[in-house]
């Protein structure tokens, strides 16, 4: 088990000397937000010191000081995670990259952009668009940093067509635990050049190194897009439609799933009934929001016609078109409000982000709902139907915290076991942090978990990088 030292006044002075007084804080002066992410149920853990870094060199110097003194370092972006990934469990230093928010350079010949890790997803997306380009990964949390997205291998709504963050990272500058600066990857389309440490770094949640610059792949912005809402009487028929869309060769950009509960809750929260609860005198049990992109309107119309035909055959209540800019804005604002809507009317909240084979979604949802009923916990869910990634929230407004945690643990234990039985994975895009480490261990087994830990040791022999996360079980218990 790793042992850590406290930050002495001398070490604090060294750290302060690296970033200067304004970007250094310690003790009671540390921003309280640095003690948690967006899932308060996992508790608060304060760092002893926080530094807002601006350059790779500063990160390198901080890491060297911390490694020499065995001080834990937890890297943090915008703090929008949901599994406690940026929470400093062992105290030490929080190294915040939010000031490293510059978009450095576009290479329009190779369609790449070089950026710093603190650039927000929404800013990269907007800036790329201004260059006529698209940054395809589109996680729901637009105020996350791209560095955080890489660290969790975030996915998002457009993963069905374009893949996930991993697919858009070409190169990284990384500071290792001892302060060495390394370059991983190149601006090339393919590589067959040894172990891919680049891809090992992606999704490693700040446990193997600190990402300080990255080269991201972009694509030409699609010219036209259209979405449609396909309501079904029940979840089963709704999900059964997903593979049919793919088999029809319609190549959707996204296929989002929403059940009746989340639609009602989103309408109540936004005050706008964007998605209908009844269609053609029938209650809507669940809907898909499907988006297509194309070169012109005719191409999209052909896709819509084909979609309409297979939707009718599949028992859809209707196909509603989201084509105007106002309707698109409203539909995606409503879709993006789902988590906020849940948070707004829920006092106690815990979540899981499982990913299961698409055809197993109904079985999993049915199971998790029955668990919720058994334990008296409200289950809310939505997700990316096209790739089987479900965001499931356990909610309560009535229970005491300890009782909520007890019941939620029962649900989570059984649900992750069910997920494993259905050949699913613990996390589709929110990652492991410390909240899901036990479930990861169960899911991958002892051998693989130990291999992960071995890899961690190679990169970070003193275990100072983000202690207690992913596969570092030394702080558990």
């Amino acid at each position: 088990m790793a042992t850590y030292n406290k930050i002495t006044p001398e070490i604090a002075a060294q750290l302060k000397a690296v970033v200067g007084e304004r970007r250094f804080s310690c003790g009671a002066d540390v921003d309280p937000n640095y003690s948690h992410d967006e899932m308060p149920i996992y508790g608060n853990h304060f760092p002893e010191v926080a530094v807002d870094v601006e350059t790779t060199e500063e990160v390198s110097r901080i890491m060297k000081i911390c490694n020499d003194n065995r001080i834990p370092v937890t890297c943090r972006g915008a703090g929008t995670g949901l599994v406690g990934g940026c929470v400093p469990l062992a105290g030490g230093v929080v190294l915040c990259t939010r000031r490293m928010n510059r978009i450095l350079h576009y290479d329009m010949d190779n369609l790449v952009v070089r950026i710093q890790p603190g650039v927000l997803l929404k800013d990269l997306a907007a800036d790329a668009l201004a260059h006529g380009l698209m940054y395809p990964p589109d996680p729901g949390e637009k105020t996350a940093t791209v560095g955080g997205n890489i660290s969790t291998n975030a996915g998002g709504m457009r993963a069905v067509k374009y893949g996930v963050t991993r697919d858009y990272v070409l190169a990284l500058t990384v500071v290792l635990a001892d302060g060495r600066i390394i370059e991983l990857g190149k601006t090339v389309c393919k590589t067959s050049s040894g172990y891919s440490l680049l891809h090992l770094m992606i999704g490693s949640e700040g446990t193997l190194g600190i990402i300080t610059e990255m080269t991201m792949k972009l694509i030409p912005n699609p010219i036209c897009d259209v979405s449609c809402l396909v309501p079904f009487p029940d979840v089963d028929s709704c999900i059964s439609f997903v593979p049919k869309i793919k088999l029809a060769n319609l190549d959707p950009q996204s296929i989002e799933f929403m059940d009746a509960d989340i639609v009602v809750s989103s309408s109540a929260f936004t005050g706008i009934p964007t998605f209908p609860e009844r269609v053609k005198d029938a209650d809507v049990g669940a809907s898909l929001l499907v988006t297509f992109v194309g070169a012109d309107e005719d191409e999209l119309d052909q896709k819509l016609i084909k979609l309409g035909k297979i939707a009718e055959e599949a028992g859809a209540l209707d196909v509603l078109v989201v084509a105007t800019s106002s309707n698109k804005k409203a539909a995606w604002a409503a879709r993006s409000s789902f988590l906020t809507a849940i948070e707004a009317d829920t006092r106690l909240l815990d979540e899981m982000d499982v990913v299961v084979p698409v055809d197993k979604i109904p079985a999993f949802l049915l199971y998790i709902r029955s668990l919720g009923q058994e334990e008296g916990i409200v289950i809310r869910n939505f997700g990316h139907a096209g790739d089987g990634n479900l965001h499931i929230y356990c909610c309560s407004n009535d229970l005491e915290l300890d009782e909520f945690k007890r019941r939620t643990k029962i649900i989570m234990d059984k649900a992750y076991a069910k997920c494993a039985e259905l050949e699913g994975q613990v996390s589709g895009e929110h990652a492991i942090g410390h909240a899901k480490m036990g479930y990861l261990h169960e899911s991958v087994g002892d051998d693989v978990f130990a291999l992960m830990d071995d890899i961690k040791r190679v990169f970070d022999p003193n275990y100072i990088l983000n202690p207690g996360k992913v596969c570092d079980a030394s702080l558990v218990g």
Binding site: E21, R22, R23, F24, S25, D29, V30, D31, A50, V51, D52, C96, C228, L229, I272, P273, T274, P276, D301, L304, I305, L307, G308, D318, V319, L320, V321, V322, A323, T324, S325, S326, N327
Partner: protein
């Protein structure tokens, strides 16, 4: 069967319109357009009436040829026929000449029982059109309509949403209504209606097609107002957010800034 007229307008996306600081003109070129959102609430009210009492909805708009897309959007969600009034002589119209033109064009299709309008447009925001139209159509008017409760025997009963509460009113037809959005959020078109709307015929009127149109009462000559200049409001200097990482250093930075400005 009720004859229903819905007045709609295509507007630039007001979030994206910029002003040319040299000329003071609004730069609309290249700015995406949209259908005035409040007109879509009016259309939804009309569609609900049609579903409940039967009827036929005629859409009408005045604008450049590209305003046709707004009519097609409205056809897709319940409009039965559409009229586009277009031509250079109509350009520069204020609400006075616009309301005159709309009424003359609508008269070509006979008398309407109900006329629905957005309570204002997001680009002009005068809110004058509805009352002018009601006057010119010789129709009664119900504004701030929260719900339509009954239509029978040549009368309409509706609930108005006022700041002080609700008011139930009754009016004789023809009647012009402007609606609150609460019960009249626009609906999404279904696929068939959406695709059909792309090929539906749209009646286009130029200044030569409208019976009895007095050219002195349309466009700029018919306008009672002119807009000599548009300028943006003077904005106060934006505030500065100090976020250095800790309350103590935030306070330090604040003191520095105040000292630099000579305030302390």
């Amino acid at each position: 069967m009720l004859k229903i007229l819905v007045c709609v307008k295509q507007i630039p996306d007001v979030d994206l319109v910029k002003m040319d600081p040299e000329t003071g003109n609004l730069v609309r070129a290249g700015v995406p357009t949209l259908t005035n959102p409040l007109d879509l609430n009016a259309l939804e009210a009309a569609v609900q009436v049609k579903e409940r009492y039967g009827g036929e909805i005629t859409l009408i708009t005045m604008g450049p040829p590209m305003a046709e897309s707004t009519l097609r959007e409205c056809l897709a969600v319940g409009g039965d026929e559409a009229i586009l009034i277009t031509g250079r002589p109509f350009g520069g119209a204020d609400t006075l000449s616009t309301s005159y033109t709309i009424v003359k064009a609508a008269d070509m299709k006979g008398k309407f029982d109900l006329i629905f309008c957005g309570k204002e447009t997001l680009d002009g925001a005068t809110g004058q059109m509805a009352s002018q139209l009601a006057e010119r159509f010789d129709a009664s008017q119900i504004s701030f309509c929260y719900s339509i409760d009954d239509i029978s025997d040549g009368k309409i009963r509706a609930t108005r949403a006022l700041e002080t509460g609700k008011e139930i009113v009754e009016a004789t037809l023809p009647c012009l209504l402007t609606v609150e959005k609460d019960n009249f959020y626009g609906r999404l078109p279904n696929l068939k209606a959406y695709l059909d709307s792309k090929t539906r015929e749209i009646t286009t009127y130029t200044e030569n097609d409208i019976d009895g149109l007095d050219l002195n009462l349309i466009g700029v000559p018919g306008s009672g107002t002119i807009v000599p200049k548009i300028y943006p409001p003077e904005l106060p200097e934006p505030g500065q957010i100090i976020h250095t990482g800790s309350p103590r250093s935030d306070a330090g930075r604040l003191i520095e800034i105040l000292a630099e400005k000579g305030s302390i």
